[in-house]
């Protein structure tokens, strides 16, 4: 009888592990580029992300035209000249949290993680590695990370005439609060 009970508990816990997928459709991505002439910044709050707590698989996707700038001309140039968002409407990251086993999703705390994978921007895919923090607080999961990318790595050409106004590297911040994905 006792064995049966243990077996039941085991089956239940296996199911719980397999159900530990988190998602968000309100992911926030902001970026800045600081150049001598001016500061460029933009924000997007409709990014989509999935985090698999069991395997560490981690994905983000964002729509380029959803980035909001302060100045209309910047937004236009960003979409039309640099990101060519009509042709490449999305940017994506697909990878893994390398040390997912160090995150205890049942215990409150801020866990430092290393993330590595493939980033696709402007139709070009490049490997990236960065660090981030997964926070667990009262059963709620959130994540944040910063990374820096080189504009030239993704085949984005900045005309010589304005090259001094636009930084060669862009600092990107991502953050979101996750929700538990319903088991399917």
């Amino acid at each position: 009888m006792k064995n049966l009970f243990v077996l039941l508990v085991m089956i239940c816990s296996v199911q719980m592990v397999s159900a530990q997928k988190y998602f968000s459709k309100t992911g926030k991505i902001t970026f800045q580029s600081d150049a001598s002439m001016e500061k460029i910044e933009a924000a997007n709050t409709t990014a989509s992300t999935v985090l698999d707590a069991a395997t560490g698989n981690y994905e983000w996707a964002v729509l380029i035209q959803g980035f909001k700038f302060e100045k209309s001309l910047m937004q236009e140039h960003f979409n039309e000249n640099y990101m060519e968002s009509g042709t490449y409407p999305k940017a994506k990251f697909k990878g893994k949290i390398d040390n997912i086993s160090s995150v205890n999703f049942k215990k409150d705390g801020d866990y430092k993680v290393t993330v590595s994978g493939q980033m696709e921007i402007h139709g070009v895919t490049k490997p990236v590695t960065t660090t981030g923090v997964i926070s667990v607080k009262g059963g709620n999961i959130s994540a944040k990370s910063n990374l820096s990318v080189l504009v030239a790595d993704y085949g984005i050409v900045i005309p010589k005439l304005v090259a001094d106004n636009i930084a060669k590297s862009v600092d990107i911040q991502v953050s979101t609060d996750y929700q538990l994905m319903p088991a399917n």
Binding site: A47, S48, Q65, S72, L73, S85, G86, P89
Partner: protein, 135 residues
């Protein structure tokens, strides 16, 4: 001669002023803009689900007015979002409202008409800089 110099200076100042104004112009509200396309929430999702590329040609970057039943209304960090139901139970049309705009008198379960810039499809169709259309 003096007049010409004055004229040149005045023209230059005006030109610089216009350029400065254009350069700093904030992103314009879409509220007073006429929609390029009008479509139901079911239809825009169906278009994206069947062929994303063709759907992007039709909607991406355009001012789209979408009609549908309100599934949820959410608010996060001062940004309001209205989600419209579609025939697919797990896909929505997510409309992020323009800063400073709220969902007005919209209620969950009622029909609504929302106008915004279609930024594309990520398992849901997304509109940004949206406003609630009131007849």
């Amino acid at each position: 001669m003096k007049n010409i110099i004055i004229a040149v200076v005045v023209l230059f100042t005006l030109g610089a002023g216009v350029a400065y104004y254009m350069y700093n112009k904030p992103v314009a509200s879409l509220e007073s803009k006429k929609a390029d396309v009008s479509v139901s929430a079911d239809q825009i999702l169906a278009d994206y689900e069947s062929d994303e590329k063709t759907a992007n040609d039709k909607y991406l970057g355009k001012v789209v007015e979408v009609k549908g039943k309100v599934a949820t209304i959410t608010s996060e960090e001062g940004k309001h979002k209205v989600q419209l139901e579609t025939s697919n139970p797990i896909a929505l049309v997510i409309c992020e409202l323009e800063e400073g705009k709220d969902a007005l008198a919209l209620k969950v379960g009622e029909d609504a008409s929302i106008k915004g810039l279609c930024s594309g499809y990520l398992s849901d169709v997304i509109l940004v800089q949206s406003t609630v259309v009131t007849e």
